[in-house]
């Protein structure tokens, strides 16, 4: 337990958790103002959560992390998956409208893909810039028109109805790819 607490503090996780909680509640309050659920704000909650948590994927000193004797890959993978679980359940916990089961599928897909993106960003660019990956893709997909072409479905995978194969594939590729990349490579910066 002590190891976990020290690790969490070294990665700035308490602050990130506070930020996630604050943003989730304020966005949800904003959406609740309207009554009807707004898909864009729900996904934005997921994006915000992964963006804030992504900073903790890089430690304070890369060299010190590299010379550690423990095996990093499984721990790093657990870190990424824990982000996905925390962010996803924060949203599911706060949502009390719509059909919970079908919504859960979309939340699962979106969370997994966004977390994978954040992990990929941490691997390629370091924790400081990792937030740009999920945020960037989200903002980009806001402008993608909704039509039946595969390109639009992949680019806008966050918005597709549950069960769209292209979107599910995109989420899986991003999620698994990102987690693997981060677990195996850590971050080089």
């Amino acid at each position: 337990m002590r190891w976990f607490v020290l690790y969490a503090r070294s990665r700035g996780i308490p602050l990130a958790l506070a930020a996630i909680l604050l943003s989730t509640t304020s966005f949800w309050a904003l959406a609740a103002l309207d009554g009807a659920p707004d898909p864009e704000l729900s996904v934005l909650i997921l994006v915000a959560g992964t963006a804030f948590a992504a900073a903790g994927l890089t430690g304070q000193d890369i060299a010190l992390d590299r010379i550690a004797a423990i095996r990093w890959p499984p721990r790093r993978a657990v870190h990424v998956l824990a982000i996905a679980v925390v962010v996803g359940s924060a949203l599911l916990f706060l949502q009390n409208w719509g059909d919970p089961l079908s919504l859960a599928g979309v939340v699962l897909r979106d969370t997994f893909g966004l977390t994978g993106l954040a992990a990929l960003g941490a691997t390629l660019c370091g924790g400081q810039y990792a937030w740009t990956f999920p945020t960037g893709w989200f903002a980009f997909s806001l402008g993608v028109p909704i039509d039946a072409s595969v390109l639009s479905q992949v680019a806008g995978w966050l918005w597709q109805p549950p069960g769209t194969p292209a979107a599910t594939a995109a989420s899986l590729v991003l999620g698994i790819g990102g987690t693997l990349a981060y677990a195996v490579c850590g971050n080089r910066r």
Binding site: A48, A139, D147
Partner: protein, 464 residues
Amino acid sequence: MIRTELRRSAAPWAAVLIVGIAAVLLFAFSGPWWKGGGAWNREWTGLARWERNTLMLVWPFAIGVGALQGLRDHRSGMAELLTTTSRPRWRRAAQTAGAMAIAMTAGYLVIFAIGAVQVAGNATYFHWGWAPILLVGVLSLIGAAWLGMGIARLAPSVLTPPLLAVTALAVAVVTQVSPVGGSLLSGSVPDRIAWLSPVQDGPDDAFTSVAGRMNLGQGLWFLGMAVTGFVLLAATRAATKLLAVVPLLAGAAVALPLLPATVAQAQEVDQGAVALVCADGLPRVCVTNVHQEFLGALVQPAREALALLGKVPGAPTSVEEVTTGEPFYGRRPVVAGVVQIDFDDFDLASGLRSTTDPDRLRRYLVAGAGTPTCYGRVEMDENYERERAARAVSAAGLTGELRPLSGSGSAYFRNELETLARPAWESFRVLPAAEQIARLSAMRVAAETCRGGTLEILTNGVAR
């Protein structure tokens, strides 16, 4: 000195990414910015407005990059060394802020230039109305970047850039105004506040421009934002930092009364664009300034069409282009005695383009005996299809043979022709000439008043 900042800070990255992201968005996806008279590469104002639409993505990114740049002093540990230098803090801040502003402006202008190359090839009508729209876009990026830098200096945490970017994204999302008015979060954000976000929907047609007061209001708001950001960056005393929020509030206070209260007030008609240009001689054939390059191709078929229409009593005597966009529901008011043409109509566009079927344009003009469709942009139901069939049959009645109104290459158009129009034509064709004229006249009356049942009039003589 600013050259070093331009090369070594986050500024060049910002510029390159602005161009890249906006370019990908505009080029790769066939969104509403590819379609119709309001397309991004057709007219100058359309280009400026669609570029503002890409700010949905670029503006939060600008504030995030500004925050990343503002963290630089904190992350590099230079803060102490910098306090021992003599040059005042605001001079130092001006260098970094200036480099960022140059990069933002350059990126935005490059996108405009890419579109301008295409517009210069497509458009013949030029008006400076796009300049304020562009300027407000540039100001919004600079304001966002500077505000990000200032806030990051105040709160130099690694979470500041994502926090600011996500907040800006939320603002951009929440303040989207749907075309029929009201924000997407219907009712919870009044339009005036929604205009505080720089994202704007692109135009639907080539005739509208952004109202002057909207540009002025938004410009002042972003100016206030930029000043606040710069003061936060340059302030040395705590009192000044507290006072820094004043320009932001002042900007909002001045801008909000200026900004239009409704979507309708936010657009204004571009008088230069809707001015009519007419061909010499009679009967009158006129198009708007925006499409005047098509006048030459239009004159001959238009006059032939008017001659054909003359067979039916009460025929229109001139051809004019409409000066407003097509509404979503219903139709524009009909002008008596005029055949209205809409260059966004795919039938007309098809007729202008066609090289194999020179009569198509003429057929389009006589369809419906010179009356426009009763149905709006989004009304595509069964009544609309029957009306199209009636239009095809009436065109056939005047030209002598049944041909599709648009390209016959598409299976959709061939199908619509065969199922509804062909049987009607068969029964119409065998009628005596006087009866045909009478039915066409009755059909035209019904179409002018949108009573419906035009296909029935042609086939049975009476409406349903």
